[in-house]
Symmetry: C2
Subunit: 229 residues, 2 copies
């Protein structure tokens, strides 16, 4: 009875195993193959078919190639830390942005993820500092302000002995979607009373796009944010 | 002049590097991150965005999870070999199919890849032997009969001392596409003169599908392969 219950629980947790039985061992690949497929399946955006294809690629790939992959995984786990100032990924703490002397310390650009930082840096238009939240507010996924790295942003904004903060402006560059907007609104309400200039990146029609193909919300934003020329 | 040529060649090989310059080191992630993204990009079906997402997942994942992935990659490379009889992936040679005493040695089912073998095994309808070609004929991709593992199939078919082969039937279960068809035709022409019964898996409408949504070639096959009931 207890065993049957356990089997049922295990079947609920892992539906694949439910249809497997001791006699059908041959239905599967050899164990090391199944194991690697299972590990690949844990990665985001990788389903069973992709995991299978990746495992077979690894199997057939030259040893040097898989050695390089393994080494790269190990190295990233070993060497990469979060910058204690801005939370960016870095191999030196503070990161190159926070320790760079040529950057404008009076502006902080707040982004959701490290790759958003890279996206902005690629414009070569921004020369201030960054702050990475590592997420956006999402009540549905249970992500509240506590889950975001807002605490050390507030520390950065704290005034020095002469009572002034070196930061003048905070650009809210979270994504132009529901969660990013909610995050930007939250931060604006939190930071505006402290006397900083709070700005939000513009939303409107993408450059070189066509009015005809733009969605309603984007067109609405483009109209609402119109400016004189 | 020579340097300019070299830079151009390198830019052609790697378009990403063309827009990178020594001053723009900050445009990128820290080196271990870039390295892992590059390694992930080498895997089949993984583009730049997916590689980036995977690298960030690895970064944020618990150490045990990435250790398991690394170990699984190492293990598959170390333990998995091709069965010397049927070319299936296996951790023991000969594989469980070739050494299994309960399997019918008079039928060999020829498939392209090890996962095709698993797909057939899952029907639980086939109890014969397998042979994995590791590919299909494809003149466009430069894959001729020499590139497929046909040689050890012929060895398996060789008659014993009493002049008889234990094999009676060969099922050609290569894929129902151009390359699989070409491979099946090639093998049929090669093996039929040796006196074996050569069969091809049926092509027609998938069970529980709808005539309305079937493509022309499939409908043609379904009509051509019609049988009396």
């Amino acid at each position: 009875m207890l065993n049957a219950l356990k089997a049922l629980q295990s079947a609920i947790r892992n539906p694949q195993s439910a249809i497997r039985n001791p006699q059908s061992d041959m239905l599967d690949y050899a164990e090391p193959v199944t194991k690697l497929i299972d590990e690949f399946k844990r990665l985001p955006g990788i389903g069973h078919k992709s995991a299978q294809r990746l495992a077979f690629h690894v199997l057939k790939a030259p040893q040097e190639e898989t050695d390089r992959l393994v080494e790269a995984i190990r190295e990233i786990k070993e060497k990469i830390v979060f910058c204690s100032t801005c939370n960016n990924l870095t191999d030196v703490d503070p990161c190159r942005f926070c320790s760079g002397h040529s950057r404008d310390r009076s502006i902080i650009c707040v982004v959701e993820e490290p790759y958003n930082l890279v996206a902005i840096e690629k414009t070569r238009e921004f020369h201030g500092m960054y702050h990475v939240l590592h997420g956006a507010l999402s009540p549905i996924r249970g992500i509240g302000p506590e889950e975001l790295r807002i605490k050390n942003l507030l520390e950065r904004l704290r005034p020095n002995e002469s009572g002034e903060s070196s930061v003048k402006e905070i650009i809210l560059a979270t994504n132009p979607n529901t969660e990013g907007e909610a995050t930007a609104n939250y931060l604006a309400r939190l930071l505006k009373p402290l006397g900083f200039r709070i700005t939000r990146i513009a939303m409107g029609l993408p450059v070189r796009s066509d009015l005809e193909y733009a969605d309603e919300v984007t067109k609405h934003k483009a109209l609402a944010n119109r400016h004189e020329i």
